[in-house]
């Protein structure tokens, strides 16, 4: 699309690392081949994904414009860049930033790319990556070349590959860490990039590093493989190693990682990960994408068997000098300060003191602090990136990292420089206070740009951020420190499972209208590397979510015990009471049409069912009643689970799924008997085989949850299987609501 693409290729020849240059050249040729119809669209889709070139919403060439579905008549006509993905449709470029580490030149490069190829914004993701949106496919090789010249790669940023290796952004300077995990994360990232053993996964594979067990920064619990720094004494010598976890992951049904080994020597982690990758590649599911993450393999085999297979595999590996050399190389890259450390007072303006309190934290090294830049919704402009580059050059040796909270941290800031740095950041509009507090809302792209988005997570996040900032929780630290995490759908890119207040997008039908909703997820824990996952309590219309936040935080302020965390408060008060607190918010107010559109998007959320009347005088179909009942049963299952009644929880969750399936089957067979086999077989006939229950993107995944639960219904439930089933039941019922929405008003019985 850019006139200068060919010129950039000449200009940057010889200025990129050879391996990256070769990679981009291959991709550039593939773009040309596909453009001329000489490469299969599926193959091209996978190859572009492996270079971080992702699809974006409406890239099938259709968009509901608020009145009708509009065909986008792109100049390249029907040419595609993947199945149902139009060539000219804007896409997203994900950019890998291992451990979030950047230098000033790289910030400048990102600024240029955001300005020239995107819409002027670079977006920091929940895995320390960057994303540029609204990118034309033909510009992507040039973007990659310019990144490569700055020693950044997009290779394996998407697709069934090893994704960005994330690491605690405070590694090396955190007072609480066991040791600096930076060299190990860098070494692993380098080792796995393009590794032949990592090219045939059924799904993606995400590694993470943490320097401690107690903080959230590494989020190792929710990763495919997680490393937590530990040491042990061997013959009077302190030896470094890692507490290694595998099989964690969020997604629709979150899995807590299982401990693989409480101590793996540090120089053993690369070969161990290679062995894990080989087992995953060999035994992991390939055909059914919804069961292809390593968490399912670990669950199916059991951690002991999985470990046994990995250790066997480890023995077969041919020794590779890079296992240790890459770590040694990375250890040479030691950060140091630019300026002499010192002290500073807390005097200054109120905004400065507020910023000092929430956006700085002491380093392990006396006289220095880490400064956090809280980005609204993870967004930063090109001009701000350049200003940030200037600031890190001026005050540090360019020691800046992205975080999983979609922020930046500047490390090695002398305390003496804080007033000046604050002024420099303020001039660039980068000194918003409230980093890591309730106003620092984390969100995935949601319906703004993501093909999978159901509700507007960014629209909601922007609204919450504005309202929470106005409420000013400074006087109540317990509320101020809460974490709000929002995902636009069940796939959890906003990490809603580990927020104190988590939300994920669902849709519900109200009086014949599709209404954007969010499931309210409570009980998650951000600390302890994402120590526990919350469960959905209720689906609430999007426009009522700010009231949900107000009520829940208000109840917490009123009712908490001294020092009680929100998670513990939720547990003590119980979800029955908290749910009842929200009951009246679960339906839109009669006659308020604003509920039929989403935050920041005035289009009717769906027009499929328009013309069936206003909210007042609602007619609730029996399907809606039955789905509502099924949802209540899921909640009961959750309560049973929390009371330790594992068997009952599993049975109730299964019964809820049957109830949801029956609700739909009754449309076709109103007299369907209360017979589980019959309900499941009729559901299969009417909804699975016909693909009516298929999610536009997840396919038959949610129906499969029912079939699996039915097949295993005679077996005893374990704590894990019961917990997973509760999540699956909720997702099945969410999918039943969506299916019913799609069926339209004629389905009302």
């Amino acid at each position: 699309m850019k006139a200068s693409n060919a010129l950039w290729k000449e200009r940057l020849d010889g200025k990129m690392p050879d391996d990256l240059a070769r990679e981009v050249e291959i991709f550039d040729n593939e773009v040309a081949l596909r453009k001329h119809g000489k490469m299969d669209e599926r193959l091209f889709a996978e190859t572009r994904l492996r270079r971080g070139v992702y699809g974006q919403r409406y890239d099938n060439g259709q968009r509901h414009d608020g009145a009708k579905v509009q065909e986008m008549n792109y100049p390249s006509g029907t040419l595609t860049k993947g199945p149902m993905t139009m060539w000219d449709a804007p896409g997203m470029q994900r950019i890998k930033i291992p451990g979030g580490g950047l230098n000033a030149e790289q910030l400048d490069t990102l600024a240029e790319l955001a300005e020239e190829y995107s819409d002027g914004i670079a977006h920091v993701t929940t895995r320390q990556d960057f994303q540029l949106h609204y990118i034309h496919i033909e510009d992507t090789p040039t973007i990659m070349r310019r990144l490569a010249a700055a020693k950044i790669t997009t290779r394996e940023a998407c697709g069934n590959s090893v994704r960005n290796v994330t690491a605690c952004p405070y590694a090396g300077v955190c007072p609480d860490e066991v040791f600096d995990v930076t060299p190990y994360s860098r070494a692993l990232s380098k080792f796995l990039l393009g590794h032949p053993d990592c090219q045939s996964f059924g799904r993606k594979f995400k590694p993470a590093f943490s320097g401690c067990t107690q903080h959230a920064c590494g989020l190792t619990s929710l990763h495919d493989i997680g490393f937590i720094a530990v040491t042990r004494n061997e013959g009077g010598v302190e030896k470094r190693g890692f507490d290694v976890y595998v099989g964690g992951g969020l997604g629709a049904v979150p899995y807590m990682a299982k401990r693989f080994d409480s101590f793996v020597p540090a120089d053993e982690i690369l070969p161990l990960t290679q062995a894990v990758a080989r087992v995953f590649a060999r035994l992991g599911e390939k055909k059914n994408r919804s069961r292809a993450r390593i968490k399912f393999l670990v669950q199916d085999l059991g951690i002991e068997k999985f470990k046994e297979l990995v250790l066997e595999e480890r023995k077969t590996l041919t020794p590779d000098p890079r296992w240790t050399q890459l770590i040694k190389d990375a250890q040479q890259l030691v950060e140091s300060p630019l300026r002499e450390g010192g002290e500073t007072g807390t005097d200054g303006s109120e905004p400065y003191r507020r910023w000092l309190k929430t956006n700085t934290r002491p380093q392990r090294q006396a006289g220095y602090v880490v400064v956090t830049i809280a980005l609204p919704l993870g967004d930063i402009t090109a001009n701000q990136l350049r200003s940030l580059a200037d600031i890190v050059r001026r005050f540090t040796k360019e020691t800046v990292r992205t975080t999983v909270e979609q922020n930046f941290v500047i490390r090695w800031v002398s305390k003496k420089d804080l007033p000046k740095m604050y002024e420099a950041l303020r001039a660039a509009h980068l000194a918003d206070p409230g980093a890591g507090t309730i106003v620092d809302v984390v969100t995935c792209p949601g319906t703004d740009t993501c093909k999978l988005g159901i509700s507007s997570s960014r629209g909601l996040a922007a609204e919450l951020r504005k309202r929470l900032a106005e409420r000013n929780f400074q006087s109540d630290e317990a509320v101020e420190s809460l974490h709000v995490k929002i995902s636009g759908c069940f796939n959890s890119c906003g990490q809603h499972h580990v927020g104190d207040l988590g939300f994920y997008g669902v849709s519900r039908k109200v009086a014949g209208y599709a209404v954007p909703h969010f499931q309210v997820v409570l009980g998650g824990e951000w600390e302890h590397n994402g120590g526990s996952y919350g469960l959905p309590v209720a689906a609430i219309p999007s426009k009522n979510i700010p009231k949900v936040v107000t009520r829940l935080t208000g109840r917490y302020v009123e009712g908490r015990n001294k020092g009680e965390s929100f998670k513990d408060f939720v547990k003590r008060i119980g979800k029955v009471e908290l749910k009842s607190l929200l009951d009246d918010l679960a339906r839109p107010p009669a006659g308020d049409r604003s509920f039929f559109s989403d935050w920041g998007d005035p289009r009717e959320y769906s027009l499929e069912d328009m013309g069936t009347g206003e909210c007042a005088g609602e007619v609730v179909s029996s399907v809606e009643f039955d789905l509502g009942a099924a949802e209540r049963e899921v909640f009961e299952a959750q309560l049973a689970f929390e009371n330790g009644q594992i068997e009952q929880a599993g049975k109730t969750a299964y019964r809820a799924m049957l109830h949801g399936a029956k609700a739909l089957v009754k449309i076709n067979d109103p007299a369907i008997a209360e017979d589980a086999d019959l309900i499941v077989s009729e559901f299969r006939k009417y909804y699975f085989d016909t693909q009516k229950f298929y999610d536009p993107f997840a396919g038959g995944k949610f129906a499969q949850y029912l079939f699996d639960a039915h097949q295993k219904s005679g077996n005893p439930y374990t704590s894990d299987s019961s917990r997973y089933l509760i999540d699956e039941a909720q997702l099945f019922i969410d999918a039943a609501h969506s299916c019913y929405n799609r069926l339209g008003a004629t389905a009302t019985v």
């Binding site: 200068s4 950039w8 300005e115 914004i121 034309h136 402009t381 350049r386 922007a462």
Partner: protein, 192 residues
């Protein structure tokens, strides 16, 4: 020397009181009606970003936005697809598209005339660092092109020109006319 990807921004009057939210349904209607020459695709809302792109109407060949970069609120046209012709043709095309967008916005009843060009401040950027690096020699080379454009736009009248001097930023020039012109006058001037 040739350039492409011209950006033009007409600054709005009384920017302090402008609320960008009402612009969102307006841009949605533009997509519904496909009212511009370019294929209009989507809307990006960056109201939460200070001195950011504001509200962007994403198109295939070009984006339109009410943009607040550098704290200067204006109606912006960002040409993404290459455009045939001379540099002067490209400048005129981008300015004309930006002016038409200004005209449409001024006519939008729902905006209550709040997004209205001040008729004297215009910024032009070349959004391609390779074709138009922001260097002294390049600024000199393109100076005649820019002057020719502004002479036409402001009827050869009094205006001042100033270049963006930060070499890391896009090559850009701002012109400020001593008189204020209506959008229709500017369009007439451009096509005369």
């Amino acid at each position: 020397m040739d350039f492409q990807h011209v950006n033009v921004k007409f600054l709005v009057r009384e920017p302090e009181g402008v609320d960008l939210e009402p612009l969102i349904p307006v841009f949605h209607r533009w997509i519904q009606g496909q009212v511009c020459e370019e294929l209009l695709l989507d809307i990006a809302d960056y109201r939460h970003v200070p001195e950011g792109p504001g509200i962007v109407l994403i198109g295939h060949q070009a984006d339109y936005s009410v943009d607040n970069t550098n704290g200067r609120l204006g109606v912006r046209y960002n040409r993404k697809a290459p455009f045939d012709g001379t540099n002067q043709d490209r400048l005129k095309q981008a300015v004309c598209s930006a002016l038409k967008a200004c005209q449409r916005l001024e006519a939008e009843a729902s905006l209550g005339g709040k997004i209205r060009s001040n008729g004297r401040d215009v910024e032009v950027f070349i959004n391609d660092r390779l074709l138009a690096p922001n260097r002294e020699d390049v600024r000199k080379a393109f100076d005649a092109d820019f002057k020719a454009l502004f002479d036409k736009l402001f009827r050869g009248g009094n205006y001042t020109m100033s270049y963006e001097m930060d070499s890391r930023r896009l090559l850009g020039v701002s012109a400020k006319a001593s008189n204020s012109y209506s959008i229709s006058e500017l369009i007439t001037n451009l096509s005369s």
